[in-house]
């Protein structure tokens, strides 16, 4: 086929492929056990071609966007999955994202030939490691939890019992983890049935052709978008909170129809969990392009073909084994978006909003109930969105790389020994300007049983930038109160709270916006 000639039925197949991933997503959500998957939809499902290129995707949160296409090539280096096999993995350096995201992958076969893959990836609330929730307290990847290289979870249609046992033995809530993994398999199964229907209806040749056409379409889509961007280069930098304030640096330029994103000058990977590797940095880029395109970008591998992502090896944005990456997914990824957005503001002033609160404000805690049963809980919190040319920023809302809902207070108190004392907008925390940045969120939780707790968050020592002369939002500030004494809580520091202790989270505000360019 002539590469510039689009299959006229492209959107027909786009809808049909999307119904395969729709159905996998519904199956996973309905049968999962842990709130993070069933309530917060922290998972994604993908349909890929035989080479592992992404053809259709159901992702509810953007951090899963750009990583699915890197999984299959990594797996095929080590395994050659056959009919009835299912691969499991979570190793960030061998096709995964961070350890909590457990990925299962099944090959699709037609007449004995592999013609594609299905995968889904779900965030497990705990994957072992030093601290409950597996997202803090580690110096490197080994401390973050159970590391699973690509392994067969099912072989020839039968469970590989040893892998299940090893998995269950390494996590804090094995019953929930098994249930979630089972739900992931059920979702794959449903996807397989649906893909087989399409095979029967259209034949393998038509499906393969349609997938190829989708990749070309994605590439053309991005090229069209880039054609209207100015050609000059812009350079921006920002810092991540924490020891030595690691620097993130970006040079952005569109040349010869390609978007060059050069992160040279960014800090080397750091001890702890704050690093991101290529898959997650790619997700942040995918997200921003998608936001600029109003959500119309095709979620296929082709879309990023015109993007040159230059990541220094072993840096905080291009980390190598054995860097810790748990928080890179949720925090550094937000900072990468801030950086990309800052570059866009410079490239096209007056068109892009101020920075949003820039964190996911991750709260993790675990302990035992009065009856001795263990619990682990994970939740992220919204903050202020940046104001922009369209008006004030939204308040207390998830921005950029996540859009998960909160756990209702009535459910939280039903399932865990906690009492929420306050939930409020953090008034006045949004940056001032012609349009105001959105306000952050205030939440106060009292613990009725002792817990070990971590709050992993950024923009505690820095602020969400304003745009065009707008003021920055206020930094976040968090504290714990034990026996009447309140102390400031350091980000990512695990602490023990006795029964009666409480935590107060105040998330950052978004940057303000004004059209006054003189102070820029």
């Amino acid at each position: 086929m002539n590469p510039t000639q689009r299959d006229p039925a492209l959107f027909v197949f786009r809808h049909l492929f999307a119904s395969v991933t729709d159905e996998m997503g519904a199956a996973l959500q309905h049968s999962a056990v842990s709130p993070n998957i069933k309530e917060r939809l922290d998972f994604s499902c993908a349909l890929l071609d035989a080479a592992g290129r992404l053809a259709a995707h159901a992702a509810f949160i953007p951090v899963h966007l750009g990583s699915a296409h890197s999984t299959v090539p990594a797996v095929l280096k080590e395994l050659d999955p056959g009919p009835g096999d299912v691969v499991v993995l979570n190793d960030p350096f061998r096709g995964g994202t961070h350890l909590n995201d457990v990925t299962v992958l099944a090959p699709l076969f037609h007449a004995g030939k592999r013609c594609g893959f299905l995968l889904n990836r779900a965030h497990h609330a705990d994957i072992g490691g030093a601290e409950p929730g597996s997202m803090s307290g580690a110096a490197d990847i080994f401390g973050e939890g159970l590391l699973i290289p690509p392994l067969l979870l099912r072989a020839g249609g039968k469970d590989v019992a040893a892998v299940w046992q090893l998995f269950a033995a390494n996590v804090r809530d094995p019953a929930a983890a098994r249930g979630d993994l089972q739900a992931q398999l059920a979702a794959l199964h449903r996807g397989q049935i649906r893909f087989d229907d399409l095979l029967a209806r259209y034949g393998v040749a038509a499906l393969t052709r349609a997938m190829a056409s989708l990749f070309e379409h994605g590439a053309a889509f991005t090229r069209t978008m880039l054609a209207s961007w100015p050609r000059h280069a812009v350079e921006v930098h920002d810092f991540l909170d924490g020891v030595d304030s690691p620097r993130l640096q970006l040079r952005l330029q569109v040349t010869a129809g390609r978007l060059i994103l050069d992160f040279s000058g960014s800090a080397a990977q750091v001890p702890g969990s704050w690093n991101t590797h290529r898959a997650v940095t790619t997700s942040a880029v995918f997200y921003l392009l998608q936001a600029i395109g109003g959500g119309h970008l095709p979620e296929t591998s082709g879309t990023l073909e015109a993007v040159d992502l230059r990541l220094p090896e072993g840096s905080i944005v291009g980390a190598c084994f054995p860097a810790g990456v748990a928080l890179g997914n949720v925090e550094t990824s937000q900072r990468i978006v801030d950086l990309l957005l800052a570059a866009m503001r410079q490239l096209m002033p007056g068109k892009f909003p101020a920075a949003s609160h820039g964190s996911m404000n991750n709260l993790l805690f675990g302990g035992k109930r009065a009856d001795g049963t263990p619990f682990v809980f994970y939740e992220t919190h919204g903050g202020g969105a940046g104001a922009g040319p369209q008006g004030d920023g939204a308040s207390a809302v998830q921005t950029h790389m996540t859009n998960t809902r909160n756990t209702p207070i009535e459910i939280l108190e039903e399932e865990l020994p906690v009492r929420v004392k306050r939930l409020a907008l953090r008034r006045g925390s949004g940056g001032r300007g012609e349009f105001r940045g959105g306000d952050g969120l205030l939440k106060e939780i009292e613990f009725l049983e002792p817990v070990r707790l971590t709050l992993a968050a950024t923009r505690r020592n820095s602020q969400a930038a304003g745009a065009g002369g707008g003021e920055p939002g206020k930094s976040g500030v968090d504290s714990v109160t034990i026996a009447g004494k309140t102390k400031r809580l350091r980000s990512a520091e695990a602490i023990d709270l006795p029964s009666g202790g409480s935590i107060k989270i105040a998330t950052p505000g978004g940057g303000g916006y004004t059209k006054d360019q003189s102070s820029n």
Binding site: T4, Q5, P8, A9, L10, F11, F13, R14, H15, L16, A18, S19, D22, E23, A26, A27, Q29, H30, V33, K38, E39, F60, P62, G179, Q182, A186, R190, R194, H217, G218, F221, T224, Q290, G294, G295, P298, P353, A385, G386, G388, G393, A394, S395, A396, V397, Q398, N403, N406, P408, I409, E413, E414, R419, K421, R422, L423, A424, L425, L441, E444
Partner: protein, 660 residues
């Protein structure tokens, strides 16, 4: 008393009346947007000339529009201390994942009209902080100062223990404005959704009361002794006085008529499972229905989730007016943008200059330019050809190929929607019949049925005014839900949970003059495996545990009998007798009489067929015909592809099936 069903839609107000001989009389008037009751009363006068009292059953979009436009009453919101921003924070998610400047839709309740109450319950409903009498007095005084038109009270965990809400309710009701308590409106877990539902109920109360009371007064002024009943989102009707008690249940009154009609017709025809396809100008509604009372919670009005019961409608953005364009990647795309009613498709001749799905149908010979809406609305084939030619040139294909692709893409989008409500929910479309109504559904239905391997397509009588017909058929209904959240209680314990809800419903319908013996009762349980999100709804009865595991395996693909089962909620529905509008007619068995011939494209092939066209109104029950053929009627068109046959059945439905 003569009964009329009147459905107020966005463009037309449809009225249907059943005549003594079983036939229907129809009136279609333009909706009067500034005063919707004018078109309703005009429609009444058009059908019933004599000034006799009537029973009017009304489907209204008034509450929906009020919620969408924010033209609502002035509410004071009362909640537990520490949670004044409950409605402002919501679930912290944004409307669109991909937007540079995201928005988050929440109830529009200013902080200045929120009052915090010092009180607190725990998750078991036990009192942690007592609500003192002095606090009640302070709250009432503060609320009064804010001059509310209505008050909404939602306290944490109140669905477990209503004591504090009741205390406040008793005191606040002395203010003489409607007071909505969350445990009454939506006794279910999840504070934000329960509070939003209570808030919406209160905010609608003043405006819906004004609108419906006006309609009732004007109706009774000219026709003394007339009765007004309102369709609610759950597919049943209530006397206007009852409907006004909790107007939040009118949030999806409009589309409920069509679904309710499809259900009652399906019952007659013996179709136990069905999917509906209602294709309109800007969007298409699909639903999976089963004759065992389907329903859903929450239901969505725009982006607001309401814990109110409604029929499970899923809407997709492809309708007759959806526009086709070349996207940035060079592919032909259809929708979600729509040309709407104005300018509408190019062929409407109102200066529309973008090709739409309707233009593509016209060019493919699937609509007759001079017979649209009975010939009252001529279509401009030249204009359709012009815009499709432009598009074809841009995409690099012929004018006809472009039109055909538009139709294939529109069909694929609808297919995805039908898959979402069936297969994605563990339901097998091969067991279901596709009920297609609205003007354009019949142009796509046979292909959708083919792709989903559905048994048959049913195009009901009066397909273009089917919602109004449904109003005549709907039963009087009361439905209730109560959160339980306990390990599955025994049958006897559950009976005790159901009893008060049953009593309440029976008393309410007896109050509308319905005899106890005529009441139907339906009790359901919502179950889940301990800790799971996926809730399964089963009919109350013995062997619940075993039935749960069987259903779990069917829906989710595996069975975990080690799991304990939780009772999440119970629901109760009490129905009065429905008034069946469907009459079995005597069937002959003869070939239908053709009206004319026209070249028509039938998809999946490059060629067109010189095929027979039939007029629905002149077919007799029992008439049959073979595809390729087209059946046109006043406000709808149905395609019968090659390999299919169609028959007008004894229920006056056009039934399409594959040739044996």
């Amino acid at each position: 008393m003569q009964r009329l069903g009147i459905d107020t839609g966005g463009t037309f107000t449809d009225a249907v009346m059943k005549m003594a001989d079983g036939s229907f009389r129809l009136a279609k008037l333009p909706t009067t947007r500034e005063d919707a009751s004018r078109a309703v009363l005009d429609a009444v006068d058009a059908l019933v000339v004599a000034e006799t009292p009537i029973e009017l059953i009304h489907g209204t979009t008034f509450a929906t529009n009020a919620l969408l436009t924010g033209e609502l009453g002035r509410v004071v919101f009362v909640t537990t201390a520490g949670f004044a921003d409950l409605l402002a924070v919501g679930r912290q998610d944004r409307d669109e994942v991909y937007a540079l400047e995201p928005r988050a839709t929440r109830p529009a309740q200013p902080r200045s009209r929120v009052v915090e109450v010092t009180e607190r319950l725990d998750a078991g409903g036990a009192v942690v902080t007592k609500l003192h009498r002095a606090e009640v007095a302070r709250v009432v005084a503060l609320v009064a100062k804010k001059k509310p038109q209505a008050v909404a009270v939602a306290l944490l965990h109140a669905f477990r223990n209503p004591q504090h809400e009741q205390q406040l309710g008793r005191a606040l009701r002395k203010l003489g404005v409607p007071v909505m308590l969350s445990f009454e409106v939506a006794p279910e877990v999840r504070e934000y959704e329960r509070a939003t539902t209570t808030w919406a109920d209160a905010a609608l109360a003043p405006v819906v009361r004004a609108a419906l009371s006006t309609l009732q007064q004007r109706l009774c002024a000219s026709r003394v002794g007339s009765q007004l009943r309102i369709m609610r989102s759950d597919g049943g009707t209530a006397a206007v006085e009852t409907a006004l008690e909790h107007p939040v249940h009118l949030a999806l009154s409009g589309p409920a008529g069509g679904l309710s009609a499809a259900l009652s017709l399906a019952q007659k025809r013996g179709d136990t499972e069905l999917m509906t396809l209602d294709m309109g100008g800007t969007s298409t509604d699909v639903a999976w229905l089963s004759t065992a009372l389907p329903e859903t919670r929450p239901l969505y009005v725009g982006r607001l989730a309401l814990l109110a019961r409604g029929l499970p409608i899923h809407t997709v953005g492809t309708g007759g007016g959806s526009t086709a364009h070349l996207d940035a990647g060079g592919a032909l795309a259809v929708g979600p943008e729509s040309a709407g009613a104005v300018p509408g498709p190019a062929c409407y001749g109102r200066h529309g200059d973008v090709a739409t799905v309707t233009d593509a149908h016209l060019l493919c010979g699937r609509l007759q330019p001079d017979a649209f809406l009975g010939g009252a609305f001529p279509l401009d084939v030249g204009a359709a050809r012009r815009v499709l030619k432009q598009l074809g040139q841009a995409v690099g294909m012929s004018t006809h190929a472009a039109a055909q692709q538009i139709l294939s893409i529109a069909t694929a989008d609808m297919e995805r929607a039908l898959r979402k409500v069936s297969l994605a929910e563990g339901r097998d479309p091969r067991r279901a019949v596709l009920y297609s109504f609205g003007g354009a559904g019949g142009l796509h239905a046979a292909w959708l049925a083919t792709n989903l391997e559905m048994r048959a397509v049913v195009v009901p009588p009066l397909a273009g005014a089917f919602s109004a017909l449904g109003l005549l058929a709907a039963p009087a209904r009361r439905s209730y839900t109560q959160s339980v959240l306990q390990p599955l209680p025994t049958f006897r314990q559950r009976a005790a949970l159901f009893a008060p809800l049953l009593q309440q419903g029976v008393a309410a319908l007896r109050g509308e003059g319905i005899a106890r013996a005529a009441l139907g009762r339906c009790c359901k349980v919502e179950l889940r495996g301990a800790g799971q999100a996926g809730i399964l709804v089963l009919e109350e009865g013995p062997d619940l545990r075993a039935r749960f595991f069987a259903e779990h395996e069917r829906r989710f693909g595996y069975r975990r009998t080690d799991q304990s089962v939780e009772l999440v909620a119970i629901t109760v529905t009490i129905d009065g007798p429905s008034t069946p509008q469907w009459q079995r007619l005597r069937e002959s068995h003869q070939p239908a009489k053709m009206r004319s011939r026209q070249r028509t494209w039938f998809g999946n092939a490059a060629r067109t067929f010189d095929c027979a066209w039939y007029q629905r109104e002149s077919l007799q029950p029992g008439d049959f015909l073979h595809g390729p053929a087209v059946v046109a009627e006043y406000s709808a068109t149905t395609l019968v592809p090659p390999g299919w046959r169609a028959r007008l059945d004894a229920w006056n439905c056009l039934v399409l099936e594959r040739e044996a």
